[in-house]
Amino acid sequence: MNKQAITFKSMPFNMKVAVGFISLVLLFAIAGRFIANDVPIYYSHKDWKGFPAMNKTSFLAFKQKNEDVEPDFQILPLIPYSATSIDYKHSLSKPGQDVGSRHLLGTDTFNRDVLAGIIYGSRTALLIGILSNILAVIFGLFLGSLSGYYSSVGVVTGRQNFIFLLMIEILLGYGLLYNPYVSVYIYNTQVRLLLFFILTILSVYMLLRPQRKNFRLDIDLLITKSVEIFQSVPGLLLLLGISAVTGTMDVVKLTLLVSLLRWPGITRLVRGEVIKVRQSQFIESAKSLGVTDWRVIAKHILPNITRQIIVAFAFGVASSILLEASLSFLGLGLPPDQVTWGMLLSQSRTNPAAWWLAIFPGLMISLLILACYTVGNYLNNRTGETSSKEEII
C-alpha cells in the first residue's frame, strides 16, 4: 500500500487542469454573489454603509431615500448582474452584441445575464452533485457493508425487529411519501424524505440486535433484492413519479431524489468490495480475537475499501450533475426563477438561433463532468499502480 500523499506537484498535467477547473467552479459556487451581482460588494455614503452583496436591506433603503444618487464609495462586482436581475433593454442579446451593455455571454429569454446564470448555477450543480452523493454513500456504505458482511451467513435477529423494519418500509414509506394525512402533520417534504432515510437506517440497525425470539434473516437477500427492484425502474421515470406526488422542487428535495437514484449502485459496489475483503485472513483473525461484527466492519473492512469509495464518489458526482442538468432540461428540475445550467440549456430548445444558450452552459456541464472523471480516473489508477508495484517486488 502506497502511503505517499497526493500533492498538486506530483499530479500529471490533465489532473492539474481538472483540479483547477473544479476549484474555479467551487469559487463560483461559494463566492458567486461577490463576482456577479447587481448591487455593490461594499458601499459607504455619509452614515450609510454595508455589504449589500450579503444583505441587501440597508442598500435598498438607501436607494429608496436617495434616488438616482450613486454612493460616495462603492466596490462593484466584476459582473454587474445577478442571476435573477432582469435587464429590460436586452432580451436574447448575443454575446457582445450591444455596445455598452456588459452581457459578456449574452442574455436569455427572461432577459437575464447568461454569465451570471452560469456562475449562480454552479452552486446548484455542485450542491446537488456533492450532497446527493454524500447521502448516497452514507446509505450505500451502511447497507452494502451489512449485505456483504452477512452474505451467505445471514444475521440472527429478533422477530419484532423484522416486523418493525417491514412497518417502516411499507407503512411509513407509503405514509411519509404519499399519504396526504401525514403531510398535514409533517408539511415539509424534505423533512419527510430525510425521515424516511434515517428511519430506514435505524430499523436496519435494529435488525442486528438479537432478542428473545430469534431467527436467521438473510439480510443480503433483502438488500440485494431491494437494490434490484430500484434499479429495474428507469431513473427518470421514478423521479417523474415522485416529483408529481411531492409537488414543486427545491434544491434539498432534488438532492434527496438524486441520491435516491444513486444509492443502489453504491450499495452494490460496497457489497462486492466488502465480500472481497471479508475473505481475507485478517478478518478471520479479528473474529477469532472476539472483535464484534460492527468493529470488524468499521475498523477492518471499511478502511480497506476507502479508495474504491472515493473513486465511486468522484464518478457519482459527475453523473449526478448530469442527471440534475437533464432534469432541468426536461423541465422537471427546479422552478424557472432558480437558474441552473440545465435550465439555461433548455431555453435553447425553444430558441434554436440563440447558440450562446446552448454552447456556454453545455460547455460548463461537459467540462465539469470531464474534470470529475479525470479525478476519478487518477485516483483509480493510483490504486492500480500501487498494487502492481507490489506484485513485481
Partner: protein, 575 residues
C-alpha cells in the same frame, strides 16, 4: 560436456519509479547438457528473478537486465544471445528450447480449457504436430510423466484433478516440445510431502531418460539432495556458494550454507533450541534480539521427554474434544437441488493437557485446519462437544462465547494476509485488549503492547509501523503478540511457520518454545512438516481424510508408527 546455458555477471534491477532495487547482483553459472542444477535460497534472494530473466519473462519496461554473457546453445547447435534476441524469436526460445514449470499448479492452468487441449496447444503453436496426431502425442506425454489414466485426464478440466496431477500436467506441458532445458520454479512447494516425493522422482527420471538439463529452484536445501548434480546457493542476490551436491552437503564453505543446513529441525532427534543463521553469520543485532545461545547438551533424550510429559499429563485436561464432526454444505444451482454435504472432520476425540503442545499432522484436505477452526468456533460443529475447563463451548450462542474467545487463540499460516494492511502494528495488538476491556486504562494497555513487542523480539518502534514495512517473520511475530495480548491459555497455530523461510522458521519456532514456558501455554500445533513436530510437540495426532489415524507421544508415533499412513508420511520426508 557441452555448455548449454552460460551466464556471466548477470544483474537484474527493478525500477519502480522512485527507487532502484537490485534483485540479482552479478551472478555467473553454467549449465551443461543433461545436468540438474538446483538454485537454493530464501524468499527474496532473487532466485526466481534470475530464472525468469533466462526466459526473458520480466517486464522490460520496469526492469534492467545486464549481463556480460548470457548465451544458450540451441538444439540446432546455434549459440543464442538471449538478451539480444529479437522479440519475434522469443516464442521459439520459450517452450521449444526452454520449458518452464511454475509453483502453483492450481492457478497455472486455465480453468475453462480441457487439460489435454492445453498441452496440445503448445505443440500446435510450434508446429511440431498436426491436429490429427496431436492427441496421441499428448497421451504419450501423459504416460511419460506418470499419469496412468491418460485418456480420462485428457478430457478433464483442471478442477477435476488433484494438485499432484495438475503439476504433472504442467510438467507434460513444459516437456511437450522436447526442450533441452527445463526450468522448475519451486514446483513442489504447494504440494503434500507424499506427492512431492513422487513428483521429484518423476522429474529426475525424465531428465535422465531424455538427457534434458534442469534448473530447479527451491527454498529448501534438503529436498534437492537426492535430485541435484550441482547446487547454487543464493543469498541477497548473490551466489555465495556453488559446487557439486556432495561438496555442498558435506563441506559447506559459506556460513550461510552452513546455517541453511542446520536451521531445519532434524527429523530423528529433539533439540532444545534450534540453531539459526545468526549463529553462523556474525550479526550482533540479531543475536541481541533472540538470545539463543546454544546449550552444550542440545538434544533432549527420549527418557527425558517422556518423564516430562508424564508430569504434564498427570493433571486434568484443559480441553476435551468428544466426537466432533464438522461438515460443509454446498447449495445447488437451483433451490430444489439437494444440498451437498461434505464431512470435513468426522468423529474426532482427544484431550489437551495444560502446558502441552499437541501436533496435528496430515496432508492437505485431511481436515486439520477445519478441526482448529472448529475448536475456536470460526466454524460451527455439526455434532460432538468441545469442553473447556468443564464449560461446554460447542453450542454456546455467539455473543456468550465471545468472552471465552480470549482463552483460545489462533495464529494463521499466511503472515501477509493475517494482518490488516491499513492498521498499525501497535493498534493491531491493542485492539483485542480494547474489545475485551483488559487492563484499567489506555496507558496500561500501551505499556503492555510494548512489553509484548519485547517478548516476541520486536523493537519498540514497531508500534507505529504498518504491516507492509515488516518482513514475513516479523509479521508472524506481530500475530503472535496479538494473540498473546489476551493472555490465552490455549494457542492454536494453524501452519504458522509453514510459509516462512527455514531460518525465520527456526527463529519463530524457538520463540514459540520460549513463550510456551513463559506464558504457560497449551498449544495445538497444526503442520504438515514432521520435523517441526519433532522439535516442538509433546504429542502428535495424525489425521487422514477427516478421521483420526493415530495419536501418541512424539517418540511413539515417529519412532514406532502404528499405522501404515504415518509410516508413509515419515518415509516421504526428504533427508
Amino acid at each position: 560436456m557441452d555448455t548449454l546455458l552460460d551466464i556471466n555477471n548477470l544483474s537484474v534491477s527493478f525500477n519502480n519509479g522512485q527507487s532502484n532495487v537490485t534483485a540479482v547482483k552479478s551472478i555467473s553459472f553454467q549449465i551443461y547438457k543433461g545436468e540438474i542444477v538446483c538454485l537454493v535460497g530464501e524468499s527474496g534472494s532473487g532466485k526466481s528473478v534470475a530464472a525468469n530473466s533466462v526466459m526473458r519473462l520480466l517486464d522490460e519496461s520496469k526492469t534492467m537486465v545486464i549481463a556480460e554473457r548470457m548465451s544458450f546453445m540451441s538444439k540446432s547447435g546455434e549459440c543464442l544471445d538471449i538478451l539480444q534476441l529479437p522479440k519475434d524469436k522469443l516464442p521459439g526460445l520459450r517452450g521449444q528450447e526452454i520449458g518452464m514449470i511454475f509453483q502453483e499448479p492450481m492457478t497455472s492452468l486455465n480453468p475453462v480449457i480441457k487439460c489435454g487441449d492445453q498441452v496440445a496447444e503448445g505443440l500446435l503453436i510450434h508446429g511440431l504436430e498436426s491436429t490429427h496426431s496431436v492427441k496421441d502425442k499428448v497421451l504419450e506425454l501423459f504416460k511419460e510423466v506418470g499419469l496412468d489414466d491418460s485418456k480420462r485426464i485428457f478430457d478433464s478440466y483442471p478442477h477435476q484433478l488433484s494438485g499432484g496431477q495438475k503439476q504433472r500436467i504442467m510438467i507434460a506441458m513444459a516437456m511437450a516440445c522436447n526442450p533441452s532445458l527445463l526450468i522448475a520454479d519451486e514446483p513442489t512447494t504447494a504440494l503434500d510431502v507424499t506427492v512431492q516425493k513422487k513428483i521429484l522422482e518423476a522429474l529426475k527420471e525424465l531428465c535422465r531418460n531424455k538427457g534434458m538439463a534442469m534448473l530447479f529452484i527451491s527454498h529448501d536445501l534438503n529436498i534437492v539432495k537426492q535430485l541435484a548434480d550441482k547446487i547454487l546457493v543464493m543469498f541477497k542476490g548473490e551466489i555465495v556458494e556453488q559446487g557439486s551436491t556432495l561438496e555442498v552437503f558435506n563441506h559447506p564453505k559459506h556460513p550461510y550454507t552452513k546455517g541453511l543446513l542446520s536451521c531445519r529441525p532434524p527429523l530423528k532427534t529433539k533439540l532444545r533450541i534450534l540453531p539459526t543463521l545468526s549463529d553462523f553469520i556474525g550479526n550482533t543485532e540479531a543475536k541481541k534480539l533472540i538470545s539463543n545461545r546454544l546449550p552444550d547438551n542440545n538434544i533432549i533424550t527420549r527418557q527425558e521427554h517422556e518423564s516430562a510429559f508424564k508430569s504434564l499429563s498427570s493433571v486434568e485436561p484443559i480441553l476435551k474434544i468428544k466426537h466432533v464432526t464438522t461438515s460443509f454444505t454446498q447449495a445447488g444451482m437451483f433451490f430444489w437441488n439437494k444440498k451437498k454435504v461434505f464431512k470435513a472432520i468426522q468423529d474426532i476425540s482427544f484431550v489437551l493437557y495444560p502446558g502441552e503442545v499437541l501436533g496435528l499432522v496430515g496432508e492437505s484436505g485431511s481436515g486439520k485446519s477445519t478441526l482448529g477452526r472448529t475448536i475456536c468456533r470460526l466454524l460451527d460443529s455439526e455434532s460432538g462437544s468441545v469442553t473447556y475447563r468443564n464449560i461446554e463451548l460447542a453450542n454456546m450462542p455467539e455473543n456468550e462465547f465471545r468472552v471465552f474467545r480470549k482463552n483460545i487463540q489462533i495464529i494463521f499460516q499466511d503472515p501477509y494476509a493475517s494482518l490488516n494492511p491499513s492498521m498499525k502494528a501497535g493498534d493491531a495488538i491493542l485492539e483485542p485488549m480494547i474489545v475485551h476491556k483488559l487492563c484499567a486504562n489506555k496507558q496500561e494497555r500501551i505499556e503492555k503492547v510494548y512489553s509484548l513487542l519485547e517478548s516476541v523480539g520486536l523493537p519498540a518502534e514497531s508500534f507505529h509501523k504498518y504491516p507492509h514495512e515488516f518482513s514475513g517473520g516479523q509479521r508472524q511475530r506481530i500475530s503472535i503478540a496479538r494473540a498473546l495480548s489476551l493472555n490465552p491459555e490455549i494457542l492454536i497455530c494453524d501452519e504458522s511457520v509453514s510459509a516462512l523461510d527455514v531460518n525465520v522458521q527456526a527463529q519463530v519456532l524457538n520463540l514459540l518454545n520460549e513463550l510456551r514456558s513463559k506464558f504457560n501455554l497449551s498449544m495445538i500445533f497444526i503442520t504438515h512438516d514432521l520435523s517441526v513436530v519433532r522439535f516442538i510437540c509433546d504429542r502428535v495426532m495424525v489425521m487422514k481424510n477427516g478421521r483420526l489415524e493415530e495419536i501418541g507421544t512424539v517418540e511413539q508415533v515417529m519412532d514406532n508408527p502404528a499405522s501404515d499412513y504415518t509410516r508413509l508420511l515419515l518415509e516421504s520426508v526428504p533427508e
